[in-house]
């Protein structure tokens, strides 16, 4: 139609139509070669940047990596505590420094056995600076790991792990690490197939080349549409894998994803498919599940820039704020206003209890700092990246601060990359932030405020704080360690108010418990496909738009 010299007259419909059919077949064939309907379809969250576990750095990537590969330990589907994975058992020396993992007999999907040297290879690859792996710091508890990753050490044989033999993997830590077994299940510590990588280089993750050792194989990967997983018959625990074909959808538009769930295309959704607007209607449904999430929403202060270089001003802003208005009217799914940075629920740890809202005190503090009733308060901005929720939260806070303190705060929506740039270069006054704990221990929320940590981005730098964190890392006694960490949290909040905690997220999942078992919301919102079992013979039916009301839940 476009490429011929034929002059179109008023009746070029015929030519257009044949071109159309050609295109139709072309496009459909360019898409799915595997047309079987899946046994289970879920929302991944976004198109993953990569599925190479070593290079993964986000939740969608992590979800894929854990489906395809399995590490020394795995996460229990209900409460995420570390359970045996490829390692069937382990011994830990009394000083907590040496772990000896005993691997069970298992194979890769091409039949070759999984050995301890596979783990040695994968971990060296993670720490090798040339790989530029973002989450290499997960292995820093291992002796010499940090030096090797930063380039000050160049001999990999000095790294604190080795394959004693094919089924024994020995790890030496630089100091005791209470959550090391948790880390072993983390997605960047998963093993990778050496021969495949050496043969195909960067292309090793393509469906036609990839070799995996986890419950599933990679079937096909169509960008922006879906990733198809197929049951791995060679997986050591294949008898507990009940899904033959599972699809992960990668669309990012919340309303579109919600529609896919309501029409029965998706079986499982998380907040990536829950429009903020319909949350009150969803709360009445029996297929909506809300659970605590190890994830806090907060605002960062740039403590190097006036007026927020004065801790009194920061505290005034906290005391003037009423986060319950946000959780009650904007979010409405049962989120809780935050009284600490670390979400409650870590066994053995008591988090900080910040004081409740107190407008009088806030005003006094602000006056002390030199801005009585907000007079003379300089122009400040709240920065956030593009999102309906961030916008609404910021609008509420803006109005609260105006009313309580008499200060006018401007709202600035920045596009994601610009936003990251601004926070990294400390070009902001207040910026929206958040943090999901990588492992179930307070340290993941606290070591980011040390002076050299790239995730700090507040300008807060105190060598005494760094020393505290480092000391906690060396402490053997669990109770004492938790005490030190509590001190650290208190430093960040009660003493300095480096950040403004706003609320604790909740996990919001949409699924019908009568369709599948083995699915429950968990603290890190992980999707653990092994163990998911279809209960009914059929799926894909549109859901009832009129809420099935819950029976007294």
């Amino acid at each position: 139609m476009l490429l011929s010299n034929h002059v179109p007259d008023a009746s070029c419909g015929g030519m257009k139509r044949s071109a159309l059919w050609l295109l139709l077949t072309l496009s459909i064939s360019a898409c799915s070669r595997d047309s079987r309907p899946p046994d289970f379809a879920f929302l991944l969250g976004a198109e993953p940047e990569t599925i190479d576990p070593t290079l993964s750095a986000g939740q969608p990537e992590g979800r894929v990596a854990r489906t395809l590969f399995e590490g020394l330990t795995a996460n229990d589907p209900v409460d995420l505590h570390p359970i045996p994975g490829i390692a069937k058992s382990w011994d830990i020396t009394p000083d907590g420094l040496v772990y000896t993992f005993h691997l069970r007999p298992s194979v890769w999907s091409d039949g070759h056995p999984v050995t301890a040297s596979d783990f040695a290879y994968a971990w060296e690859r993670l720490l090798n600076p040339k790989m530029a792996a973002r989450y290499a710091n997960m292995l820093y508890p291992v002796a010499n790991a940090e030096a090797y990753n930063k380039g000050t050490l160049t001999d990999p044989s000095l790294l604190g792990f080795r394959a004693a033999n094919d089924t024994t993997f020995v790890v030496t830590l630089k100091s005791p690490c209470a959550y090391f077994l948790d880390l072993c299940a983390f997605y960047t510590l998963l093993p990778v197939p050496r021969t495949t990588i050496e043969t195909y280089g960067d292309e090793w993750i393509k469906p036609e080349h990839i070799v995996t050792n986890g419950p599933f194989l990679l079937g096909e990967w169509i960008l922006n549409r879906h990733i198809r997983f197929l049951k791995n018959p060679r997986y050591w625990d294949a008898e507990h894998v009940y899904l033959n074909v599972a699809d992960a959808y990668t669309s990012e538009n919340i309303n579109a994803n919600f529609n896919l769930y309501m029409t029965g295309v998706l079986d499982w959704l998380d907040s990536g498919g829950v429009p903020l607007f319909v949350v009150p209607d969803l709360l009445r449904r029996s297929d909506f599940h809300v659970a605590p999430y190890f994830n806090t929403y907060f605002y960062r202060f740039n403590v190097t820039r006036p007026p927020f270089n004065d801790a009194r001003v920061r505290k005034a802003f906290f005391l003037a704020m009423d986060a319950s208005a946000i959780t009650q009217y904007v979010l409405r799914a049962g989120q809780q206003p935050a009284h600490s940075l670390i979400p409650p629920g870590i066994p053995g740890y008591t988090e900080v209890q910040l004081p409740k809202r107190n407008i009088e005190e806030a005003r006094t503090l602000l006056a002390e700092a030199g801005y009585p009733n907000g007079q003379g308060f300089p122009k400040v901005e709240v920065l956030f990246n593009t999102s309906e929720a961030h916008k609404q939260i910021a609008e509420v806070l803006q109005s609260q601060w105006k009313e309580a303190l008499g200060v006018k705060v401007d709202l600035v929506n920045q596009e994601w990359k610009v936003f990251l740039n601004s926070t990294q270069t400390l070009d902001y006054w207040m910026a929206r932030g958040g943090w999901i704990g990588d492992y179930l221990d307070p340290n993941t929320f606290l070591d980011m405020w040390t002076s050299q940590n790239g995730n700090n981005r507040t300008g807060f730098a105190d060598p005494a704080y760094d020393a505290l964190i480092e000391r906690a890392g060396r402490t053997l006694d669990p109770a004492e360690r938790m005490q030190l960490l509590h001190q650290a949290e208190s430093w960040i909040l009660d003493k300095e108010m480096v950040i403004l905690p706003i609320y604790y997220y909740v996990v919001m999942n949409l699924y019908d418990p009568e369709d599948f078992s083995g699915l429950t919301p968990n603290l890190q919102n992980q999707i653990i496909l092994k163990g998911v079992k279809p209960l009914r013979g059929h799926r894909g039916k549109p859901r009832d738009v009129h809420a099935p009301v819950m029976a007294g839940e």
């Binding site: 139709l24 898409c31 990753n149 669309s251 309303n255 579109a256 994601w416």
Partner: protein, 305 residues
């Protein structure tokens, strides 16, 4: 005619070069880079990343490297989707946008051209007002409103069509309508305006005087020239519809090129953005060339220069 085509073809090469250079410069001057992420990396690691993608070389060297690859048909690796090349991504996503776009365009032409002709012929009579009002609906309602409304009506209320996705003909209907509605309205109005220009001209009067039946006068003689504003409009309209509409793709969950394109700008995925710009530009230049040829063919008063 041959000389004209040759001259235009030769002019295309420096044009494409200029386009690429301009886009390259433009992209690189925006703040933020492809590897800025929520979780920071140690500077050593960041340096490795940049070296891996040659971002540490001077801009001219990077551009030269890119153009060198282009000569081999290699559009480079995607910065955001590691282990994917731009060629791969476009090869997967473009056919989707192409099909959907062609369908949408077909719908808009099938609706728009007759509507415009009738509007011109029955000018200022009820039929004209009716048609023009309907077409105005297409221009006045944003497609991100039309889309969800269509879904509510045809998917959730009537249950006739799926809510989104890609792979079957039924999944193409609603997105194509959403795509086509806006352009149908434009085409109808341009068609009407163009026909009105023509209808009062000499050669039409001559045709009527010759005793030709009215449908032939309108359909053959007037249409030939009256369609020219539509033809001009079609060049950019087709190019943009073929490269994908990010709004329609988001609403209906379609794996098309539009999403990649917008995301490449937002993610600073330099190579992906340049690749799509190149694709868009090539299509547009081809279509512009075609428009000029068609102009000359349809209106004998215009000469090709």
């Amino acid at each position: 005619m041959g000389a004209f085509l040759l001259r235009r073809l030769l002019a295309t090469i420096p044009l494409l070069f200029a386009i690429l250079a301009l886009s390259f410069l433009f992209m690189r001057s925006a703040p933020g880079g492809p590897f800025d992420a929520e979780r920071s990396v140690p500077p050593q690691v960041e340096r490795s990343l940049r070296a891996k993608y040659h971002l540490d070389e001077p801009l001219t060297a990077q551009f030269a490297r890119y153009m060198g690859g282009l000569l081999h048909g290699d559009l480079g690796p995607s910065f955001k989707y590691q282990s994917r090349t731009v060629n791969e991504i476009i090869a997967q996503a473009f056919p989707v946008s192409l099909t959907l776009g062609a369908l949408g365009l077909a719908i808009s032409l099938v609706i728009g051209i007759p509507a415009g002709v009738f509007g011109a012929v029955y000018r200022n009579r009820p039929a004209d007002y009716g048609i023009m009002s309907l077409s105005l609906l297409g221009i006045s309602i944003p497609n991100f409103v039309i889309g969800p409304l269509l879904i509510i009506v045809f998917c959730f209320t009537l249950g006739w069509l799926p809510a989104g996705g890609w792979g079957s003909l039924s999944q193409m209907i609603l997105p194509a309508i959403t795509l086509g509605a806006l352009r149908a309205a434009y085409i109808a109005r341009l068609m009407r305006a163009g026909m009105l220009e023509v209808i009062h001209q000499d050669f039409i009067r001559t045709a009527r005087a010759k005793g030709l039946p009215e449908p032939a006068v309108i359909g053959k003689h007037a249409l030939r020239v009256g369609i020219l504003p539509v033809v001009t409009y079609l060049a950019p309209a087709t190019a943009s519809i073929l490269v994908g509409s990010v709004v329609v793709e988001r609403i209906f969950d379609i794996p098309g090129l539009g999403t990649f394109f917008v995301n490449s700008a937002l993610n600073r995925d330099y190579t992906m953005a340049m690749g799509t710009v190149l694709l868009y530009s090539t299509i547009l230049i081809t279509l512009n060339l075609l428009v000029d040829v068609v102009y000359a063919a349809l209106d004998p008063r215009v000469e090709l220069k």
